[in-house]
């Protein structure tokens, strides 16, 4: 479905040279390689997580795969087409959701956006009706179909955006941070819908997200890129086992204190009365760590952090050995 070979994208960035008043005229031109030889392939009906820290080259890759950007070199094949050559033909076979910006018409009722998209994608009236009914039921759009988009909650808007991206029944769906800013319930609902879409319709999904939980729930396989290169391509389970073994308890004490000493955990950061304690899941539990802290100091508040993608990337570089 998606075939990428040695994909590269170099941007020319103008940097102001430092110094004198004429510095505007002697700008330095720097070549920045945003995507540096990325290769991967996604099979028909696969659901794959595409992750990496900010600035790793994720969006640049997506932009090339959608035909927005031309690659500097390398080969791409999406649904049998070359995105760089056949932008418009490709557009009919892909759905794109950018979590942070809606494609819906802000001031019009939600259903008006669907109607306009039907004409942009030239979806037949019957097929459109059928899909709209289906999505209305699956995503529970009914209560706000006639509400102007600007009045929708973020969760409602995201559901609307998902339906909008799927009205033309694309075999491929790109999702860029689809759960960003959503609450737990809305996230769960979104994941459930995506899983259904993939299972029942065989839609191939490329999911870019910061939320490791999205990937763990949805994508059996994940790609991690950093500095424009693929640093991991394989099972999500393996990453979870190797690097998800550590968690962090954040404790707020009544007053600033020297780093706590807790068996099975070690302090990684101190910020005034707040301390971060990391532990291995295999060796102790969050409850034990918290109990130990509470026994030795006055605990005000606490939170537990899952390892995020930045943390995993850091650990991959450190080549941290398997903790178990």
């Amino acid at each position: 479905m998606i075939e990428v070979t040695d994909l590269q994208k170099t941007f020319r960035v103008h940097r102001k040279a430092r110094g004198g008043p004429l510095s505007v005229f002697c700008r330095e031109v720097v070549n920045v390689r945003a995507v540096d030889g990325v290769s991967f392939s996604v099979a028909d009906g696969e659901m794959i997580g595409y992750c990496g820290p900010n600035g790793a080259g994720k969006s640049t890759t997506i932009k090339m795969l959608t035909g927005i950007l031309q690659p500097s070199s390398g080969r791409m094949r999406v649904a049998g087409l070359d995105p760089a050559q056949d932008r418009k033909a490709l557009a009919k076979r892909i759905g794109v959701v950018f979590g942070q910006r809606t494609q819906l018409w802000w001031d019009l009722p939600l259903v008006d956006s669907f109607e306009l998209l039907r004409h942009i994608y030239r979806v037949h009236a019957d097929a459109y009706r059928r899909r709209l009914d289906e999505f209305t039921e699956l995503l529970d759009l009914g209560p706000f179909l006639r509400t102007p988009v600007r009045q929708l909650s973020l969760g409602q808007r995201m559901r609307g955006d998902l339906a909008a991206a799927l009205l033309h029944e694309p075999p491929i769906l790109y999702l860029d941070e689809p759960t960003i800013g959503l609450d737990v319930v809305a996230k769960a609902r979104m994941r459930e819908f995506l899983a259904h879409l993939n299972r029942a319709r065989g839609v191939t999904v490329l999911l870019t997200t910061h939320d490791m939980a999205d990937i763990e729930r949805l994508c059996p396989r994940m790609l991690i890129i950093d500095h424009g290169r693929v640093i991991y391509d394989g099972a999500t389970e393996a990453i979870k086992d190797r690097f998800g073994g550590e968690r962090t308890v954040v404790v707020d004490l009544e007053e600033a204190a020297p780093p706590l000493s807790v068996p099975g955990a070690w302090v990684v950061k101190v910020d005034g009365p707040r301390q971060w304690l990391r532990f291995r899941r295999a060796e102790t539990t969050a409850a034990q760590v918290v109990a130990a802290v509470a026994a030795s100091s006055r605990l005000v508040d606490l939170a537990i952090e899952e390892p995020d993608i930045e943390e995993i990337v850091r650990q991959i570089y450190e080549g941290r050995p398997d903790p178990t």
Partner: protein, 282 residues
């Protein structure tokens, strides 16, 4: 072979119809969205309507003092002003979306345009058509009627056609300037002030007889940016005035052709800009 040509023509025609259909739907959506805010819309109409008279009052005051500008009476200058105003108003309303391309690039809204199976030009064209711009066209049309009553034009069919041609061509020429300006945005990201010189400045310039400007300026606005074809040259024909610059008389009838050519230039500039965007991003 003939069969193939016919099929190609039919496909091209169907493409055109589909494009037009989509355009009308998208613009209709724009209008509905703008009418959502009725009070703000009404206030904008009123303030725009008041604002548009300033230029015209300037002309009338100027001529009440000097009575003629370079041999042109108030009525004749108002004819220039009216044609330029209606043409510019139409052009400005048609391509408002291009005027906001800079914003669209910065907010990545243009990426969305690129992921849809329709032309970037069509989508941008339909992206922002402001209803309130009607006010300016309306005001310029009144100026045009005043001009008709102040001058005694001997109307012929040819003159009516030249007038309508000037309005249509003027719309296309000013719209093309906006499009070319927008195309530069793909390189500069910020909308350049230079574009405004040619658009808003151009409208002001077209409201006076070209003969008052320096030679090089006139040549520039005839052969490079063809603003002379919007109001000045057609007005010479309608008023049956001799051309003090002795350009061939045929020039007075060439506006539609010049507009069509200039539009092709604008279209090419746009495609070039989009291609640049595809290689550099925002």
């Amino acid at each position: 072979m003939a069969e193939r040509t016919r099929n190609q023509l039919r496909a091209a025609f169907r493409g055109l119809c589909d494009g037009l259909d989509l355009y009308i739907r998208l613009v209709g959506a724009q209008f509905r969205a703008q009418l959502q805010y009725r009070t703000s819309f009404a206030l904008q109409l009123v303030s725009n309507f008041c604002g548009t008279w300033v230029d015209m009052v300037t002309i009338v005051l100027l001529l009440s003092r000097f009575s003629v500008i370079d041999g042109w009476t108030v009525g004749e200058v108002l004819l220039l002003y009216g044609i330029a105003g209606v043409a510019f108003g139409l052009g400005d309303m048609a391509v408002g979306g291009f005027d906001h391309l800079s914003e669209s690039i910065r907010t990545s809204a243009f990426d969305r345009v690129m992921t849809r199976p329709a032309g970037t030009f069509l989508q941008t064209l339909a992206g922002e058509v402001l209803l309130r711009r009607f006010v300016r066209i309306f005001q310029a049309a009144i100026a045009l009627l005043i001009a008709f009553s102040l001058t005694d034009i001997h109307w012929t069919v040819a003159k009516v056609l030249v007038l309508l041609g000037a309005l249509g061509s003027g719309m296309v020429i000013t719209a093309s300037i906006f499009v070319i300006g927008a195309a530069f945005t793909f390189w500069t990201v910020q909308t350049s002030e230079i574009t405004n010189v040619f658009t808003y400045g151009g409208q002001e310039m077209m409201s006076y007889p070209m003969s008052i400007y320096a030679d090089w300026l006139r040549s520039f606005f005839t052969f490079v940016v063809p603003l002379s074809f919007v109001s000045y040259l057609p007005a010479l024909y309608i008023l049956e005035r001799p051309d003090p610059l002795s350009l061939p008389a045929a020039f007075q009838l060439l506006s539609p052709l010049v507009a069509a050519l200039f539009f092709l230039v604008a279209r090419a500039a746009w495609e070039l800009g989009v291609r640049h965007y595809q290689s550099t991003g925002s």
